[in-house]
């Protein structure tokens, strides 16, 4: 039986006159795009451009909601009430759904951005609030979660399909969280190291942490980046390596989700 894996990336994080990341390059490598929805980044024009590009490349699209904090690019923790958080996520999903109509695409997944994601990964109430937003708008939307986190627990509790995410170019701590970017060597610039980590996740369900600890970890989707000089090359190498290893790289919509997997 062929193994399947999804590749995803955060896209559409420009704003007005500002560009960031490498949407065009990534769109040719990934199978599912997480599109910023105008709160931490993105504007309606950038969103429209990205849904059209996704359509053209056969890439499935998801909402990438964040805190309403353009200055902090959604990377700063903000202490919102759970209902305000839920409504803010609902709002962002809807905004993207409407823009997606330009490309006749459906929003088929959601992945929280930055500080929102990091906070919800360890705070089940927040993870549930995000999940309730999904359920309100479209219960078929797949909740992309950090494997083993409160996001995963929340998705299970709400009966939502979820995709467990691993990272290609980031090192892990012993507890399964990402090691801080600020530490030396935690962002892989060597494509070989990234591919090795990904293949071990996909083929053996294991991650080797920063300290050499082996963590059990089932993943459905691998996140790649395009914002650093080396990252696009890493992403391309990982994709090619997966295919060479006989792993089928598919859109999230082609995965076999289910509460049982």
């Amino acid at each position: 039986m062929t193994r399947k894996i999804n590749l995803n990336a955060d896209m559409g994080e420009g704003f007005g006159a500002y560009d960031i990341g490498n949407d065009e390059g990534l769109m040719q490598i990934i199978k599912s795009a997480n599109i910023a929805c105008g709160f931490h980044a993105g504007d309606p024009d950038v969103m429209a451009k990205n849904v059209m590009a996704a359509k053209a490349r056969g890439v499935s699209i998801g909402a990438h909601p964040g805190f309403n904090d353009l200055w902090g690019f959604g990377r700063r923790k903000i202490d919102m009430s759970l209902s305000a958080l839920e409504h803010a996520v609902t709002y962002q999903i809807g905004a993207l759904q409407a823009i997606a109509a330009y490309a006749d695409l459906k929003v088929t997944h959601l992945k929280a951005h930055g500080a929102l994601s990091n906070m919800a990964a360890v705070d089940k109430d927040m993870a549930l609030a995000i999940g309730r937003a999904i359920k309100t708008v479209d219960p078929d939307i797949v909740y992309v979660v950090l494997a083993g986190s409160q996001l995963e627990s929340a998705a299970k509790e709400l009966g939502l399909d979820f995709a467990r995410e691993g990272f290609a170019d980031r090192q892990y701590d012993d507890d399964g969280n990402l090691a801080s970017r600020k530490l030396e060597g935690t962002v892989f610039k060597d494509p070989e190291i990234a591919l090795k980590q990904v293949l071990r996740m996909v083929e053996h369900g294991e991650i080797v942490s920063r300290n050499g600890k082996i963590i059990q970890c089932q993943v459905d989707t691998i996140c790649v980046h395009g914002d650093e000089p080396t990252s696009l090359g890493v992403a391309r190498y990982v994709r090619d390596g997966l295919e060479k290893a006989g792993v089928e790289v598919v859109a999230l919509t082609e995965m076999d989700f289910g509460r049982e997997n």
Copy 2:
């Protein structure tokens, strides 16, 4: 045959700690609410509160998109490109559609706010951009237009259902546009005067302008306000007066629209 008319009002124009208008009072008088979508006013919490209140009162809801200008409350002209304008309206409709799911309501009309509406009333390209946003997201959404304006022309050209709007508490210029608020007496505080204007519109299809000119004017919906001390009383008086005169006050969804009317 019973005449039908709709009463609408702009709602949900608070933001965060800020309240404005009288959403609760108006919701008991009107039949269709134009809900701000977070650009010129409104936030996801305020939107959620208003869709729930609309549901409870049997009021139909519409998007009330505006320029992305909270400081100016959407009342300042902003020189946007047509595509940016269209995308911004699309975005706002979608955001409200998602929030409306909390109340299991559909967004059934759209009325542009403030400077966006004023500009588009005399600029057909802008009116068409707004109309294309409607068509993209949901072609069944009724486009609320100033009777006789470029908004009406655009709706016709795009084959959209439209509702021609008249104002209960505002005086008109000879050309059918609203007289400036800055002029003495252009905002009616006397409910009797407002009702008289409304009944003449509804029963005879006529408006008497500031200078006494009679303007022909078919209206489907009457806009009332709640933001001035006297305006809620005026709105209530107009509604009661319409019913006493045998006019049925209905939601926009109960009107008999059509490209032929």
Copy 3:
């Protein structure tokens, strides 16, 4: 010897079309105004209006910087870097200084707003960052601090003049912090209770906490509010009561500060 005390209030927290609080009423009661600087509330017009009103009433003005979070009205904790925080405060002070030139006034004090103040009261690094902003722009600016908090420690460490603040209409916890607004009875609506608390602070240097504990507490300035229906009446009663008790109510600029007091 006549005792002196200052009365301060947060002002200018409207934004664009939005009004909040009771600037006009408070300006007639207080002696020093903390003026919002456009980040959590306030805009350049509102600021200009308030500095003119302060000038007309002989009220001294201070900066009231907050997080850049209009939606949250500066009441949500945001996890900023210390340097970003310092620069944001510096920016806000400078903005108000420039606007103050319309009234030929100097910015003579600073009081942090909402979540920024609450966080810095228990986080000395944040309190120091705010203090460094003061030192950078004008070291003669008086730092208004919660008595006994990290704000006070930071002011001392930086050698800044500071004014220890007490609250007229808020109940205290045993540790000297304000009891949560959400608890019953923590916002005094009875002017007599407020005045009693203020006189005990001013005359005996004591606060009686929610649980009856007596806290030692030297205060230089008393904060009053104008945003609730009862609060303006409470403020007026406190001011009159202080004067009847022989306490001189003065501007912060007339207090005898000093690192030694």
Copy 4:
């Protein structure tokens, strides 16, 4: 007698995670930096970084205020009241003055950005509103104006020092305004063409328009750019060419302004 000319550039137009332009490269070529003030671009951190860099390079600094429109990068016309406009400019100058204290620098000039500048160049009331902001905050600030525009008239009427600006890398229309960027060839990528235009301005007080018309034009400062791939090379070539031609390139503070020049 040595001719003097100033070279200026717009700087600090990044925001949060977003970079734009080439501040570092330009800072080594120009003598005066126009620093964005947080409304159309720039944030307190970016501003602080730029004032420190200006100090290090001996570059004088000016405020570069714009409309409060990050999405539009200050390039969209916004229809503000004159008093709101004036206050917004005052606010921005003050914010930069405070940040400039980190580098112990004074804000010595002001140049309006984008749509604000373009509108005020042909609308004397707007140009006067900007000028009044300067006068309010610091009447010694030099008003950088498009030569021959309403900005120049306003500066004269208010008795402000002003510097007439010419552009190195932009083609002119016959009326002395810049030809639209959208037209072919209006942004010079050939450094030789840019230098030739600059030398003709500086040495002969003339510009040759798009259609070959000779326009009389005294200039005190030349604007260069860093935001396009070729523009930094053009800027460097212009500076070197000026010096080779015996023109002294100085800070605006070293120019001999005066109402009589």
